[in-house]
Every structure is written in structure tokens, then in C-alpha cells.
């Protein structure tokens, strides 16, 4: 070897090392965090695979593993618990046909003999991905992701950045896709129907200095009590979804019973929210309610309202913009607070901004009233919404419609500032509606009309309607 050649090789080696070192260091860091290291890939199927049960495959794999499930029906309740499963992917092998890989909760049991509650429950797992799968008939939820110790002051944040993608969930008793106490996360490109509460739920989001938004995007939800709900949900970005034929389209709320009050700092944008007139209180409804309602008032149950696109129930800093909201027989959106029973008055609707929404399809498929507001809280505003019609203020026109529904930003004088609303027509209207007895009689105050065609969708109404409407 001549000297020039040797120097050239040495130089090349040094260059190579210079480039290689950061990469190796990066890989080491990633491995240390458990992100970069590739995990096992195993396959589950009914016949001819090493694993016949998804739970057994989960138990035998570790971080960043991939569990591929072949078509078939799996009657089990899978529990994935702890950081040893961080980065796990559980996926069906039929990307274009997620219904072919079905978890069915009917008669499904845990190993201890108890009834399986969920198709998959992820507890304290970071980066858990569930995709190309279906789940139906579970007594609790389809896919349930949670932090085991979500409470004020908890800094462990063990449920983080989950993904639920390309799933079909149906007729799970409470929720189809449910996240509790988690940070970030995505529920996307999924279809969801038949729940007694919500198709998609994000609740008890821990407060964060640098918030990681939870994405609820490109989903389709129909025939549920609600398409999306979230008690004490924060940092949620709900966009490009089609939510229709539910009792309510979207309803964030605030409750004492769960940590991290209040719900807030979220966005609802560019969704189609329409025809949410499912009167699930009627006997012939394809779904029942599993919700206990909004509480009790003088011994009477305060039922969830129906026939509404979006209900903001005691929330702080939500922006509703650029949505198409139409064909609701009660209200397009409703904003009110919890005047009874919230310790510390955390459930006051504040800074709820309604901007540039296309309401009532420009008069072609109207909401009975585009907006309802009880006059509580402060900073709530309405601006640039097309085809707007408001539930008017009281008989004495105090406050006036302009005062009750101010443009953005709302003047300091707008709203009562507290949890109690305007004690005129709004409150009477709201109380009368949620205390309707029987609750199916909510429909008695609807303004119904046929819907014009919208894309591929078909409107659904429970028939017959209520038979006991007061004259």
C-alpha cells in the first residue's frame, strides 16, 4: 500500500467515523428511551400460527413489538399493562377491511372468569398503536387507553401518544374508543356506531406546560348517544370528521367526579356535524343510553339533551370554527354552565368562541335555532357564522340578542360571569328541555323537516316519535 493511499483510507475512515458516531449515539439514546429498538413481530390467527390468542402474544412480547392478527373473530379481552409494552402495535393484517379482524365481546371472559370488559385495554403504556381492527359487543368499551393513576398532582403521565387508526367499533355498551388521563394521542380514520355514551371519548387530560394536542380526525360516527364527548378533556383538536344521526354531535363537559377540571383549550374545526336528532329515549331506538344524565335537580334526573350539534357544558377556552353544522331539530350549538352541584364552580362556560361556521346549510337544512346560550360565564362569543339564528332573549328583550351573543372578542360586560345563566327565557327553555318527563318528550319541542341529500349519508329518525306530547 503506498502512503498516499493509506492516508486517503485513514482520512475516509475518520470522515466515516465522524458521520457514524452521532448516528450510533442517536441510536443509543433512542434505545435507552425504548423508542428505537425494534421489537419482536408475531402473528396471531385461529389456525396454524404460534399464537391463537392476542393476550398470549402480548404476554410473550416486549417493547416496540408488533402483533399482527389475521382475519377471524377473537373472543377475548386483551389487557396490555405497563411500560414493558411501550411502543406495542396491535394490528389487523387487512388494512382495507378492518371488519375482517373482529374482537367480539359476547361471552368473552378474562382468564380469572370475569366478563371481558374491553377488546383491548392499555394501562400505562406509551405509544400503543391499535389499527386495522374491529371491536363489538363489549360490556364496557371497544378500545380503552388509560393512566392507572390519573389524579391532580400526578406527574408520571404513563399513557402517552397512543394511536387508534382505521378501526370499526360498534355496540360496545359505553364507549367505543376511550382515553382517560392520557397525553397526546390520535383517534383517526375510524368508523364508530351504536354506543350508549360516546363513539370517541377523551377525558381527564393532565394539564401540560407545552400541550400535546390529541387528534380526533377523519372519523365517522353515527347512531351513538354522542359522537364525541370528554369530561375534563383538554388540548383536543377535533377536525375533518363526519358526525351525524347521533343524539348530540360533540359534547365536552366538566365534572367534579373526575380529575383535572375543567375541560378546555381545545378546537372543533372543519367538521360536518349534522342530523344529530337520535331520540334514544324512545323504545324503538337501535341504541339505549348508558348515561346517568347530567345529575339530579330536586329529585328529578337532568337528562342529556338531544337534537343538538355541539353542547358546551361548563367548559373553558374552546374554539368552534369553520364547521358545517346543520339539520338539528333543537339547536346547532348550545353553550351553558352547571349551575348546581359543581364544587368550586369549575363548570362555567368561559371563552367559548364560535367563528365562521356554516350554520343550517345556508338555509337549505336549518337548525331549529343555530345557537343557544344560557347567558352564564364570560368571554363567549359568536362571529362570522353564516345563516345565524339565535334563541332569542326574554320577553322584555333583556339582555338583547346582540348583548347575549356578542361578537369576538366578547366585551367584559357579556355574560353573568358565574355559573347561573340569564334567568329569563334561556334558562327556562333549557331546564324545561332537560327535565322533560319522560325524556323522549324532548322531541315535542323540536322543529322537524325533511333533510336534503348530503354526500353518501342517509338521515335516520326513530319512529314512531313520542306519543304523549302535551297539547
Amino acid at each position: 500500500m503506498n502512503r498516499v493511499f493509506a492516508v486517503a483510507i485513514a482520512f475516509a475512515a475518520m470522515i466515516g467515523m465522524a458521520f457514524a458516531l452521532p448516528a450510533v449515539a442517536g441510536a443509543a439514546d433512542a434505545a435507552k428511551k425504548g423508542k428505537g429498538k425494534k421489537g419482536k413481530t408475531v402473528t396471531v390467527c385461529k389456525f396454524g400460527c404460534k399464537y391463537k390468542s392476542v393476550q398470549k402474544a402480548v404476554d410473550k412480547t416486549g417493547k416496540n413489538a408488533k402483533i399482527k392478527i389475521k382475519p377471524g373473530t377473537y373472543k377475548e379481552g386483551v389487557i396490555v399493562e405497563g411500560k414493558k409494552h411501550n411502543g406495542l402495535t396491535i394490528m389487523g393484517t387487512k388494512k382495507k377491511k378492518p371488519k375482517r379482524v373482529m374482537f367480539n365481546g359476547r361471552n368473552a371472559k378474562y382468564e380469572d372468569g370475569n366478563t371481558a370488559q374491553n377488546a383491548i385495554e392499555g394501562i400505562d403504556v406509551k405509544r400503543l398503536t391499535i389499527k386495522n381492527l374491529s371491536a363489538k359487543n363489549y360490556v364496557a368499551n371497544g378500545f380503552f387507553l388509560r393512566d392507572s393513576d390519573a389524579r391532580d398532582g400526578d406527574k408520571s403521565l404513563d399513557c402517552k401518544n397512543y394511536k387508534v387508526k382505521n378501526t370499526y367499533t360498534s355496540f360496545n355498551r359505553a364507549y367505543n374508543v376511550f382515553a382517560f388521563g392520557c397525553v397526546g394521542g390520535k383517534m383517526t380514520d375510524s368508523e364508530s356506531t351504536g354506543t350508549g355514551d360516546s363513539a370517541f371519548y377523551v377525558g381527564a387530560t393532565p394539564p401540560q406546560k407545552k400541550p400535546k394536542m390529541t387528534q380526533i380526525a377523519r372519523n365517522e360516527a353515527y347512531l351513538n348517544n354522542q359522537a364525541f364527548s370528554g369530561t375534563n378533556s383538554r388540548y383536543v383538536d377535533i377536525h375533518h370528521n363526519d358526525f351525524y344521526n347521533n343524539g348530540i354531535g360533540i359534547t365536552p363537559n366538566t365534572l367534579d367526579s373526575e380529575p383535572y377540571e375543567p375541560s378546555g383549550e381545545s378546537v372543533i374545526r372543519k367538521n360536518n356535524i349534522f342530523w344529530n336528532n337520535l331520540n334514544y329515549y324512545l323504545d324503538n331506538s337501535p341504541v339505549e343510553t348508558t348515561s346517568s344524565g347530567l345529575g339530579e335537580f330536586l329529585g328529578t334526573t337532568i337528562n342529556f339533551p338531544t337534537g343538538i350539534g355541539i353542547v358546551n357544558f361548563g367548559v373553558n377556552d374552546w374554539t368552534i370554527k369553520n364547521n358545517k353544522i346543520f339539520g338539528h331539530f333543537k339547536w346547532g350549538t348550545a353553550t351553558f354552565s352547571d349551575p348546581i352541584g359543581n364544587d368550586g364552580d369549575d363548570a362555567i362556560s368561559t371563552d367559548v368562541r364560535h367563528k365562521n361556521n356554516e350554520m343550517g346549510k345556508n338555509g337549505k337544512d336549518t337548525n331549529a335555532a343555530d345557537f343557544f346560550y344560557d347567558g352564564s360565564g364570560s368571554g363567549n362569543c359568536w362571529q362570522g357564522n353564516s345563516s345565524s339564528s339565535f334563541v332569542p332573549s326574554g320577553a322584555d328583550n333583556t339582555p338583547s340578542v346582540e348583548e347575549l351573543y356578542p361578537a369576538c372578542p366578547a366585551p367584559a360586560s357579556a355574560g353573568t360571569g358565574g355559573s347561573g345563566g340569564d334567568e329569563d327565557l334561556q334558562l327556562v327553555d333549557l331546564v324545561g328541555y332537560v327535565l322533560a318527563d319522560p325524556p323522549e318528550n324532548q322531541q315535542c319541542s323540536w322543529t322537524e323537516h325533511p333533510h336534503p341529500k348530503f354526500k353518501k349519508f342517509k338521515p335516520f329518525m326513530v319512529t314512531p316519535g313520542p306519543q304523549g306530547c302535551p297539547e
Partner: protein, 142 residues
Amino acid sequence: MSPRRLSTALLAAIAGLALAVAVPSGVLAGPGSGSGPSAEVAKKKTPKKKIKVGDDFFAPADTKVKKGTKVKWKWLDSNFNPHNVTLKKGPKKLKKKQKRKLKSGTATIDFKFAAKLKKPGRYKFVCTIHSTVMKQTIKVKK
């Protein structure tokens, strides 16, 4: 004693020993602990306490039981929300392993959880989903 009887007796002795080793001294947890004739005899002697797990409460929320009582939690069919039974604080002498066993799965309906509380003292349980309102104290007497 015939060889067959001897082997049966040996088997029974081994099984008894295995059971004695398998059951932790402080706590026995699980939905279906105990079966067979000898377990039935034990069952008759073991005091029991039933607790309802509802939306969003334990009933009774506070109770006193004798040492060694088998506490059985049952989730109500009328529930809408998910709940669990999780020990937040137990008697000082309770070992970590035993504490870990005092944690049920999270469930909505059609679910049971049982634990035998052998160490005297106060056991404070919560549902971690509704920890602000679902609290329970069981005082185990000597």
C-alpha cells in the same frame, strides 16, 4: 394402608402443602378463590363482607370487619362508568406484595373482586377513575 391409599394420601399431603405455600399469609385476592370440600369447610368459617361498586360510589363506603374477613366487591348491573378498587393506603405491616394484590381490574358491569384482609388496621381504597368521589375505608379489627 394399601400402596394406592398411600399414594392418595401422599398426593393429598403434597396438594395441601402446595396450597399452604401458594396462599399469601396477609391477603387472598381474586375473583374465585377457594374450591373443593376442604375450601367449603373453610368458607363456612371465614367471615364475609359484600360491597357494592356503583356509579360513582362504594356501598358501604366505610365499614368495620373482623381480621380474616373475605371482602367481596360486586359491580352493579346499573353502572354506566368504569370503576376499580385500588388500595391507596394500608396497615403499616402490610407487605408490598400484598398491597399489589389489593387492586382489581377496571370494569363497568358483570365483575367481581375478592380479597381476604388478614392484617388489622385501616385499608383505604379508591376508584382511580373517580378518585375524588369514590373513596372507601375498611377498618380491620383484631
